[in-house]
């Protein structure tokens, strides 16, 4: 069973003049952290809202955890952190989780037990009985995250979960997301913070103007095929000669040699040659690009040039 499957999901506004989603088809496996990236106005939030039923798609279909997305009962298994979520500010954190937990179908007795633990998870245990109108933006985000977890969902939709949170808090949230993923939950994440996405995601998709551009494992996108960085210790002349004799060119930057080989076999031959010359190999690192570089590269490739 897939966590999310969309089939030709389309959303137009203003009689078709604004194409927020265009035949968007996507599959997300369960038990992963999946991140959806895109520039402003790409349709990321529109997609989440369409899946949850906050907006009505123009056409297309979708399944969430094997059930039709139009069946509101599937919401028993999902949690949602909206980008600009708002709670009644006259309530305390405990009361917010109580009322919204009841709406999620959680029994009152279970809520009394769960709420303190949940607030502790997001580091709001000391503010449990304070009215949320006194909360900072970062605290409101944590509150939103706790709310999204109140019904112990199988699938979490998080729209900009680390927005307004300090670096320490962001790390805590990353750790929490990984913990949830390890428990078997699926996390569908929208975020502009590519550095955060890079640290936490298993799979990503990139969209622009309502269309899916790329989708796949993060690791595969960021690895530059057959390029490696070598950290070596030894006579520099000997090192140069070894590269030349192996017919491999190397760029030296800081204390790393960057090489490009045809395949693993060529790499192993080079390593053997270096070892024969008693050159110490301190590290062999597959070359990666940053997610930001990859993201911009994909957007540039798909740039629609004016006629």
């Amino acid at each position: 069973m897939l966590a999310i499957e969309t089939i030709g999901l389309t959303k137009y506004y203003n009689r078709g003049k604004i194409k927020a989603l265009q035949d968007f088809s996507l599959q997300v496996d369960t038990g992963k952290i999946f991140s959806l990236l895109g520039p402003n106005g790409a349709g990321k939030t529109t997609l989440i809202k369409a899946l949850i039923g906050i907006i009505q798609p123009t056409r297309g279909n979708a399944m969430i955890l094997g059930q039709s997305f139009q069946d509101y009962k599937v919401h028993k298994k999902i949690g949602y952190l909206a980008e600009n979520h708002r709670f009644p500010d006259f309530l305390t954190a405990r009361q917010v989780l109580y009322y919204y937990g009841k709406m999620s179908g959680v029994a009152g007795a279970d809520l009394s037990v769960q709420i303190p633990g949940l607030l502790k998870k997001v580091n709001l245990q000391d503010w449990m009985d304070t009215k949320i109108r006194k909360y900072s933006k970062g605290m409101m985000q944590r509150m939103g995250l706790a709310h999204a977890l109140i019904n112990n969902p199988d699938l979490l939709f998080l729209d900009e979960p680390t927005d307004g949170i300090d670096p320490v808090g962001r790390r805590e949230i990353r750790d929490l997301l990984k913990e949830l993923r390890n428990e078997g939950k699926t996390i569908f994440l929208n975020s502009h913070l590519l550095s955060e996405v890079e640290r936490v995601s298993d799979e990503i998709a990139i969209m622009k103007q309502g269309k899916l551009l790329q989708k796949g494992q993060l690791e595969d996108f960021l690895s530059v095929k057959e390029q490696y960085q070598l950290q070596l210790k030894g006579d520099s002349t000997l090192i140069d000669q070894t590269f030349k004799s192996a017919n491999i060119s190397a760029d030296f930057n800081v204390n790393l040699f960057t090489i490009k080989v045809q395949d693993h076999q060529e790499l192993n031959i080079l390593i053997d040659a270096l070892r024969e010359q008693s050159i110490d190999i301190l590290a062999v690192i597959p070359k990666k690009i940053s997610l930001e570089d990859f993201f911009i590269e994909v957007l540039d490739e798909n740039e629609v040039k004016p006629a």
Partner: protein, 270 residues
């Protein structure tokens, strides 16, 4: 149920509920302490209000019915006016971005969301109305020994009238997202109703028949608040309902308007 409870909490937080309760309690206290009735041999021998004695002795029954009818009319007009004002923003507030998203993300249908809000609002108003009606009834009945059960029916009539008007306000709130706009239009209906009742006299001023048909259409479509008020007073005075049409048409109007609100709410994007 959680949505109903949340609506109650919101009303408490906005002090509207407490304001209502305070006014109702004040009126009850007025009847307890300011109204004095001396009964001798089953007949009223003197009556005073704030220590001022009435100049004539009149039949006790008529006084009690009069006072209760007065309270009922006061509640009908003033109470409905204030109740609409106090609840005018409850539906638009529900539809705020970021707020409604979280409701829709729950395993509750859109019908349950809007119905929960509607019922919560009705419950707040009903509590306040019946708080005043029941306590006034008990105070007056215990003081005088006259138990006028028709007075309790006034509460029901006021609630029916409020429900019909609140259903309209819900529809306008769902369409416009504006509390003040929906309140203004609902007040217009509330105060336009007595004019529609006198439409026979207006016909003579109209220069085309079509306007007459429009007035007739509006009369039959909209809640007949003037007549409902009259029925309320007559119920309290023990006369009974002379014409059921205003009641069932108000109920029908409320139901149809609420169904329309629900339909529009279902179609909306947030």
């Amino acid at each position: 149920m959680a949505i109903v409870q949340l609506t109650f909490r919101e009303s408490l937080a906005k002090k509207t509920f407490m304001g209502f309760l305070a006014i109702s309690t004040f009126i009850c206290l007025l009847f307890i302490f300011a109204l004095n009735l001396d009964i001798v041999d089953g007949a009223q021998s003197s009556i005073s209000l704030f220590g001022l004695e009435a100049p004539e002795l009149v039949e006790l029954n008529k006084i009690i019915l009069g006072v209760e009818a007065g309270v009922a009319i006061l509640l009908f007009t003033g109470g409905i006016f204030m109740s609409l004002f106090a609840t005018s923003n409850l539906i638009p507030a529900l539809l705020q971005p970021g707020f409604i998203d979280l409701f829709i993300s729950k395993p509750v249908s859109r019908t349950e969301i809007i119905a929960g809000r509607f019922i919560g609002s009705l419950a707040i108003v009903a509590f306040n109305i019946f708080y005043l009606i029941v306590f006034t009834f008990l105070i007056m009945s215990l003081k005088t020994g006259i138990w006028n059960w028709g007075f309790l029916l006034a509460g029901l009539m006021i609630l029916i009238t409020f429900s019909a008007l609140f259903a309209l306000m819900t529809l306008l709130g769902v369409i416009s997202g504006s509390g003040p706009f929906s309140l203004m239009l609902t007040y217009l209906i509330l105060f336009f109703s007595p004019l529609l009742l006198q439409r026979d006299q207006i016909y003579a001023l109209l220069n085309a028949r079509i306007y007459g048909y429009i007035l007739d259409g509006l009369y039959y479509l909209l809640p007949k608040t003037a007549e409902l008020g009259k029925i309320t007073e007559e119920l309290v005075r023990g006369i009974g309902v002379y014409n059921w049409m205003p009641i069932w048409s108000a109920v029908l109007f409320g139901i149809m308007t609420f169904i329309l609100s629900t339909y529009i709410f279902h179609q909306k994007d947030f």
